[in-house]
């Protein structure tokens, strides 16, 4: 390979554990009875539901529309009846429910009418809208809507397109297997990307621990009508991170707080390119993806899985074993523990990693930081993790930001090397979400202040206007004749009070009208009982309205 490669700072070499799952062929996971499709599967605004409970939907039918520019649609992964729209547990570390559309599948797997797109004949903006409506989002894990990333912008040409086949996380092999088996389709997707971005240089970065994938991609690249350079990059975690891949391949750094397009580079995951090819050449929206099921299972392998399939069905399919201690979505470095195995596979699910005590022994207890700076040596963002830890722990979020907390990519290298076993990344996540919450609070407070100030201004103005009007009126009256005294505001208030009282009476009457329906023709015993209860209730109500004396005396 003639290309000069660069190095990114830091990084670690965790055991790869890729061989477990990358040799078995891809199997399609069977159609589940129930699909749960979250409306928030991508970064940006959640999709807006477009169907109602009871509707029959077809495979590939849009059931949630993109809401805004940074958003993506969601689709029914198979045909069936919409059985619920509302909160359900989603694959998120919090275990909190989020809005989902549940489909009871009918087993017919009936496609909606779909056709290939002649992308070359379309306006780029229209094509991007189309891709957004086909639900395309980055399948590397960040799930950023692809349509947005495919917009180079008027001022930013994007000469370099990097296809990321790094897959540096241990255990995960879905990209590896995809490249081995679908290299041609991946590059067809790249052709569409190239068309939209106007890129002249196309690089495919693959870590050198995947020789089969590299060979397959090189063979496929030969067949394309434009130049593609497949580059083997040294395997080092997190070499598959977009910023690290850019640095290794081009030697350029993405400026802090900016996008890679600002330096003329765009990066896509190989899975995204494959999904794009399916969308353009087959008209299929993003309704399935490759998922690695590995770890403590009998047959670790990759499945082609419909979005919305419950995770436990995949674990059963791969052969579940005794001694499971938990399930992660993603790899061991950045994956998130799943609250429940009912949670569905979503666009971001690249791996389901089943844990056991043998494979993932419980982490040892943390000791205090000894400032050894191994974390700083391992940090690919070149931060000082020990300082960030100190600030985050102390709640000094301002200092944490000054020390570039938001350049942290949460890759976990610092925690991995920490001899004191401190969960460093946890502290950064905590600090980041705390800062975001505070910013939100601050915005809310600013809004409230503004509204309050405007209200004060409005009241002032109304008062002034009223006074002016009154003065004018009074003057006019005085000018005409000083006979009848002008009425003051007092009766006005009385009238208002009377009106309210009337309304109150009406409301109470209305309330009283709502009488129980099953009290007619009761035997006298029951009738008496009811009366007693009613009397008791009335008494309680009365008591409740009087503040307790003892309570009032309390300080």
């Amino acid at each position: 390979m003639s290309r000069e490669l660069f190095k990114f700072k830091g990084g670690v070499h965790p055991p790869e554990h890729k061989a477990e799952s990358n040799t078995r062929p891809i199997h399609a996971a069977p159609l589940p009875k129930k699909l749960v499709i979250p409306l928030r599967q991508h970064i940006g605004s959640p999709a807006k539901p477009m169907v109602n409970v009871g509707d029959r939907v077809l495979k590939g039918q849009m059931i949630g529309a993109a809401d805004g520019y940074i958003s993506a649609a969601v689709h029914a992964s198979s045909s069936g009846i919409v059985s619920a729209i509302g909160p359900a547990v989603v694959p998120h570390v919090s275990g909190l429910p989020d809005d989902c559309i549940t489909i009871e599948t009918d087993g017919r797997d009936e496609w909606i009418v779909h056709a290939p797109i002649d992308y070359r004949a379309m306006e780029p903006a229209d094509l991007r809208m189309r891709l957004r409506d086909m639900g395309l989002a980055g399948l590397g894990g960040a799930v950023f809507p692809s349509a947005v990333k495919l917009d180079p912008g008027a001022t930013h040409p994007c000469p370099t397109l990097i296809l990321n086949g790094g897959e540096c996380e241990p255990w995960i092999t879905c990209d590896d297997v995809l490249m081995r088996h679908h290299a041609d389709e991946i590059l067809e997707g790249v052709a569409v990307m190239r068309h939209l971005l106007g890129s002249t240089e196309i690089l495919v970065g693959i870590e050198d621990n995947k020789p089969e994938a590299i060979a397959a991609m090189q063979a496929a690249a030969q067949k394309m009508d434009f130049a593609i350079e497949v580059v083997a990059v040294p395997a080092r975690y997190p070499g598959g991170g977009a910023k690290q891949m850019i640095q290794v391949l081009t030697g350029k750094e993405v400026p802090s707080g900016k996008l890679s397009t600002d330096i003329g580079i765009q990066v896509f995951n190989v899975g995204t390119a494959h999904a794009l090819a399916r969308a353009v050449h087959h008209g299929e929206p993003l309704i399935s993806r490759l998922v690695t099921v590995t770890g403590h299972v009998l047959r670790p392998q990759n499945f082609e899985v419909l979005i919305g399939t419950p995770m436990h069905t995949l674990i059963t399919l791969a052969g579940d074993r005794d001694g499971t201690t938990g399930v992660l979505m993603g790899g061991p470095m950045m994956g998130m523990p799943m609250p429940d195995l009912e949670v569905p596979v979503v666009k971001a699910t690249n791996c389901i990693l089943v844990k056991s005590n043998d494979l993932f022994p419980p982490l040892p207890k943390a000791l205090p930081c000894i400032r050894c700076t191994r974390c700083a040596d391992a940090c690919p963002a070149e931060l000082q993790p020990q300082e960030l830890f100190r600030f985050a722990k102390a709640g000094d979020f301002g200092r944490a930001q000054e020390y570039h907390l938001f350049d942290c990519i949460e890759c976990g290298c610092c925690s991995y090397v920490c001899p004191s076993h401190i969960p460093l990344v946890d502290f950064y996540r905590y600090a980041k979400s705390e800062i975001w919450a505070r910013e939100k609070e601050k915005r809310a407070a600013d809004l409230a202040r503004e509204r309050h100030e405007f209200r004060q201004f409005r009241l002032e103005r109304e008062k002034k206007e009223k006074a002016e009007k009154l003065a004018a009126k009074a003057q006019a009256k005085r000018a005409e004749l000083a006979a009848a005294p002008a009425t003051a505001g007092a009766p006005d208030v009385d009238a208002k009070k009377a009106l309210i009282a009337a309304a109150l009476a009406r409301a109470q009457a209305k309330k009283a009208e709502v009488a129980p329906k099953n009290v007619d023709h009761l035997p006298p015993d029951t009738q008496r009982e009811i009366e007693e209860i009613e009397a008791r209730r009335a008494k309680i109500r009365e008591l409740a309205h009087q503040p307790l004396e003892s309570e009032e005396k309390k300080p």
Partner: protein, 342 residues
């Protein structure tokens, strides 16, 4: 507990164990050249340190096991023991160790919280309080007619009845002491260097001890337990400062090689200044920290009131660490303009 779910096999215990292992060549050379007395000092300091650590952990409500097993107390004990005169009385060793563990370490918050290197605090307290006892060094065996056995050394340390003549026969001024005394007597460096205690670079035996510490330090560097910046900058600071003075007045200032091969410099550069807890953390900061400590060592040795300055130099630089760290924050990935944190 969220990700990551896997860890490297490193641990504080492992780091500390390597530091102890890297001290072994030095200890072996020590025993070989100066007699087995140091073993008594090491053992006494270790026992005292562990007892003090356990008591303090209990008093502060921390579990004893993980913190005793981290071996940091033993590292402190060994570093202090190796800095003390080899025939220092037992109470001196116990006092120094207790001060190091109880005051310098635990009263500052225990492991990872101390702003000063505990061993050096212990040493500084002793040399300030008991300057006379701090000169009871056993001379190199090469120059001693009747070296002390292990039992005799123990007897000296524990205040046993040792004939003064025997003791006088083995104790000897260290090369640094000899240099200082000689200079005070208006002798020139060349005249002082004719004394039998001086060898090729440093003192007889002492230069080999320094070499052994250097070897251990290089092992630590090769294992990435310590970074290259601190030792290199420290040695550079010593060499440049001493060389500068020696260049202008060779008669009044010792040669740079002599200063480098005083064992305390090697021990300080590779084992004490590299203490991560009390040292600088940024790459540039480590250079400044090490260089400053080296420079101060020579300044204190030359003009200070004590024969050696490594301990005070490191403690003074410990004081500057927060400032150094704050102003040497490295550029992070993607950072475009230099904005020093306020």
């Amino acid at each position: 507990m969220p990700s990551p779910f896997i860890l490297d096999r490193s641990s504080v215990t492992q780091v500390m164990a390597w530091v102890l292992a890297a001290l072994l060549p030095g200890i072996l050379v020590y025993v070989w050249l100066f007699g087995p007395g140091i073993l008594v000092t090491l053992a006494l300091a270790t026992v005292t340190a562990l007892a003090a650590e356990a008591a303090m952990l209990k008093a502060r409500g921390y579990p004893a096991k993980p913190f005793l097993l981290d071996l940091s107390a033993i590292v402190t004990a060994w570093l202090l023991a190796l800095s003390l005169p080899s025939l220092a009385p037992w109470w001196l060793i116990v006092t120094g160790t207790l001060f190091a563990i109880v005051v310098a370490k635990h009263l500052y918050g225990g492991l990872g919280q101390n702003i000063f290197n505990p061993a050096m605090v212990g040493y500084a307290v002793l040399i300030v309080s008991f300057p006379v006892q701090m000169t009871q060094w056993a001379g190199p065996l090469e120059l001693t007619a009747t070296p002390l056995t292990l039992a005799q050394s123990a007897s000296v340390i524990f205040g046993g009845d040792v004939p003064k003549a025997t003791l006088d026969a083995v104790t000897m001024a260290t090369p640094l002491d000899a240099l200082r005394t000689g200079l005070l007597q208006q002798l020139t460096v060349d005249e002082i260097m004719t004394h039998s205690i001086f060898g090729h670079y440093g003192g007889v035996g002492f230069e080999w001890l320094a070499g052994a510490f250097l070897l251990g330090g290089l092992v630590l560097w090769a294992l990435r337990i310590i970074s290259w910046q601190v030792p290199l900058a420290f040695l550079a600071g010593v060499w440049l400062a001493a060389g500068f003075l020696h260049f202008f007045d060779a008669g009044r200032f010792g040669a740079p090689w002599f200063h480098l091969f005083a064992p305390s410099v090697m021990l300080g550069a590779f084992f004490i200044a590299t203490d991560p807890v009390s040292g600088a953390t940024t790459p540039r900061g480590k250079l400044i920290f090490g260089f400053g400590a080296g420079l101060l060592t020579i300044i204190i040795r030359t003009w200070g009131g004590y024969p050696d300055g490594v301990a005070f130099a490191i403690l003074l630089m410990n004081l500057c660490v927060p400032l150094i760290d704050q102003f040497t924050q490295p550029r992070v990935y993607g950072e475009t303009k230099k904005a020093p944190p306020a």
